[in-house]
Symmetry: C2
């Protein structure tokens, strides 16, 4: 029951990127749990990974392979097992997985990036299962398989998340297509989240890495479902350079800004889709904090609100309990906040004026806006010109149900 999110539609192929999915029986039988993405020669790939100290084995291996400088030719993604907290055996399993894919695709093991999502801490024979599944995967590789791949990488997601955008770059049509999974253990600085974006633009080197970081800063690093950070998060940007154009290798290139802007747009769509499909989410809540002295304190207040179980349950209950909003703002660590300068609105309804209930506010107006499925929260701290926006969701019975039942 994702909030205001339709299944993927009108996905566009990206020249040079082919995808295939299959049932490998990694945890459950009869479920597409393995995805292979193959990239043509000449492709460049950038990645950003979880900062969790207990990063999973595939994260360690993917980072090692990316930094080896070997051109990346394939990504292999399994659900059902996160291969995290699995020690040396897990690292070996991730390396073995890359090796069997490399043999099948005739490339070095360092050309393969592994990704895993699912239960943490269970041993797994990835290579064996992948090896058995590879013949079927290879046959089905196709540029038009983004939609089934977006479905195959899901775990507790209720809906696949993917979108495409196109822009004209000096008369050339450039395509960006992306997909992502994740709905729990979501917080900034990477979430339980796997995201893959691809473009046929000739984005290269530092410009490629910078573009991914710029896009992340305005998308996946601005969302939170439950404040938890996963061991397995990864976001990958693939640039095949298939369109006939000069390489874009510097951010000063006049084509960089418009291209990065459209890639950011795809990243934002995917990041917001993750929140809209947050575990148990029934409301989608953009929180905009303005009037701060700097972006950092705006984010501090925004996350304090977004991580407050009391605020999240009030949104679930459609209860305009603005006292909880004030309590969160007041405890966000902005020590010299002048509370009588604070304004708070829900949607177009101002509820707090100069630090206290707006005299014009009525409970009926508050309840009307809280009944909506999307409730923008706007706070003005009244102390500066900085602002920041993050996206979150409510906390419902279903969040508890999903996470209390997940392993059973």
């Amino acid at each position: 029951m994702a909030v205001g999110l339709l299944p993927p539609h009108d996905l566009l192929p990206v020249a040079g990127v082919r995808l295939a999915v299959t049932e490998a029986g990694i945890r459950y039988a009869g479920r597409r749990d393995l995805t292979l993405i193959a990239a043509d020669e000449g492709t460049q790939v950038a990645g950003v990974f979880t900062r969790n100290r207990f990063s999973a084995a595939p994260v360690v291996v993917a980072q090692r392979h990316l930094s080896s400088g070997t051109p990346i030719r394939a990504l292999v993604i399994n659900t059902g097992n996160a291969n995290a907290g699995t020690g040396a055996a897990g690292l070996q399993a991730a390396e073995d997985a890359c090796r069997v894919v490399a043999v099948a695709l005739d490339c070095p093991p360092e050309s393969v990036l592994p990704f895993s999502t699912g239960v943490i801490g269970e041993p797994v024979d990835l290579a064996g299962k992948i090896s058995a599944a590879l013949p079927a995967l290879k046959i089905h590789l196709d540029e038009n398989h983004w939609e089934i791949a977006a479905a195959a990488i899901m775990t507790t997601d209720t809906i696949p998340k993917a979108c495409s955008r196109q822009i004209d770059l000096d008369g050339q049509k450039v395509t960006v297509t992306g997909m992502a999974k994740g709905s729990g253990m979501i917080r900034p600085d990477m979430a339980t989240m796997l995201a893959y974006m691809a473009t046929d633009a000739p984005l290269q080197g530092e410009a490629l890495q910078q573009c991914l970081q710029d896009a992340m800063a305005q998308s996946f690093n601005r969302i939170t479902v439950d404040g938890d950070t996963s061991t397995n998060d990864a976001c990958i940007l693939i640039a095949t350079g298939k369109i006939a154009a000069e390489p874009i290798s510097r951010v000063e290139d006049s084509r960089y800004a418009p291209l990065c802007s459209v890639i950011t747009e795809v990243a934002q769509f995917l990041a917001q889709a993750i929140v809209r499909d947050g575990e148990g989410a029934s409301k989608f809540i953009p929180i905009q904090i303005a009037g701060g002295r700097n972006e950092e304190e705006c984010l501090q207040v925004a996350y304090r609100m977004a991580h407050s179980p009391l605020i999240k349950t009030a949104f679930f209950a459609s209860d305009p309990n603005w006292g909880r909003l004030l309590a969160a703002i007041g405890s966000a660590g902005v020590d010299d906040l002048e509370v009588d300068k604070v304004q708070v609105s829900l949607g177009e309804t101002r509820i707090v004026r100069d630090g206290a209930r707006d005299p014009d506010y009525t409970e009926a107006a508050g309840q009307a806006v809280m009944a909506e499925a999307e409730i923008p929260v706007r706070v003005d701290l009244g102390r500066g010109l900085a602002s920041a926006t993050i996206w979150t969701c409510d906390l419902s019975y279903d969040y508890v149900r999903i996470n209390a039942d997940y392993r059973s």
Copy 2:
């Protein structure tokens, strides 16, 4: 349904402290919602209050009266309305409340401390209601009313919280009795919590204030239910000095340490009682982090775990999902943590050894310990000699229900 917590029993009066409760109809009819505590002449009082920038009007007024140096003679506590987010009118209401109590008890208004708990942001005519209730309150003032007072200050609490302890101090029997309320919006640095402790010991001046702070640091500032900080928190220590002994005004006094230790014991009982009765709590979870470089990083890891909705729901489900524990430890911001030195136990069952699943661990053993109502979590970070313990509870359907329904 508090976890392992019985109703108060064997409460001892504290000479010089009398209490009374009544129905003042502040929010609901037919409910004891007003408590008066009167202290004899010669009493000294210390207080610690919320750090929330949106601190409630009674907090502002109580701090002002305490710092005026006027001897405190009365505390007046209402439930049903927090008198927070109420602006200048709220401040006036809190001052007025003190004034009517002062008139009735024949003392200056600065001798009265006001406390409010309940819904935030609703206007309230406290003075009118208190004024009407004062004759009944005055008649019923009694040293043996701790138990009914502990019940009258409750909001979403399911059980009154109070206890007594005695020690011998140089052959004199000293009594400490305390009561507290609070079960949601609970986090360190003060919770949605009101706590009142009293002793007949002649604790004075700086020693009194220091003792309250020492006790707080090991009790109310080591608990969390939901990470939310209230606008109204207060913890008060009353020392009547009724026993015949020389004043204890310096921490160097040989009687200070044993006395403060027993006061800390009362504070810990009350703080843990609040967690045991945490909103929707079905498990009581002490989290001990050892092997840290300093106490600060131990607390950082402990709170990261205690605030993880994924961990809290796993405890609710009695699911030994230790991957979630590792994920929280790994994202607690201890950047140079060596994960292969980390050990984790639940109760007496070691689940993580050297950063990965203990080879001897079995799911059956994990499930057995998770089935208990009290589940001590022990983590060794393997990098130093510091340690810290906090107390928290699980996150259940009932937490969502209570907080989604609270105002309706």
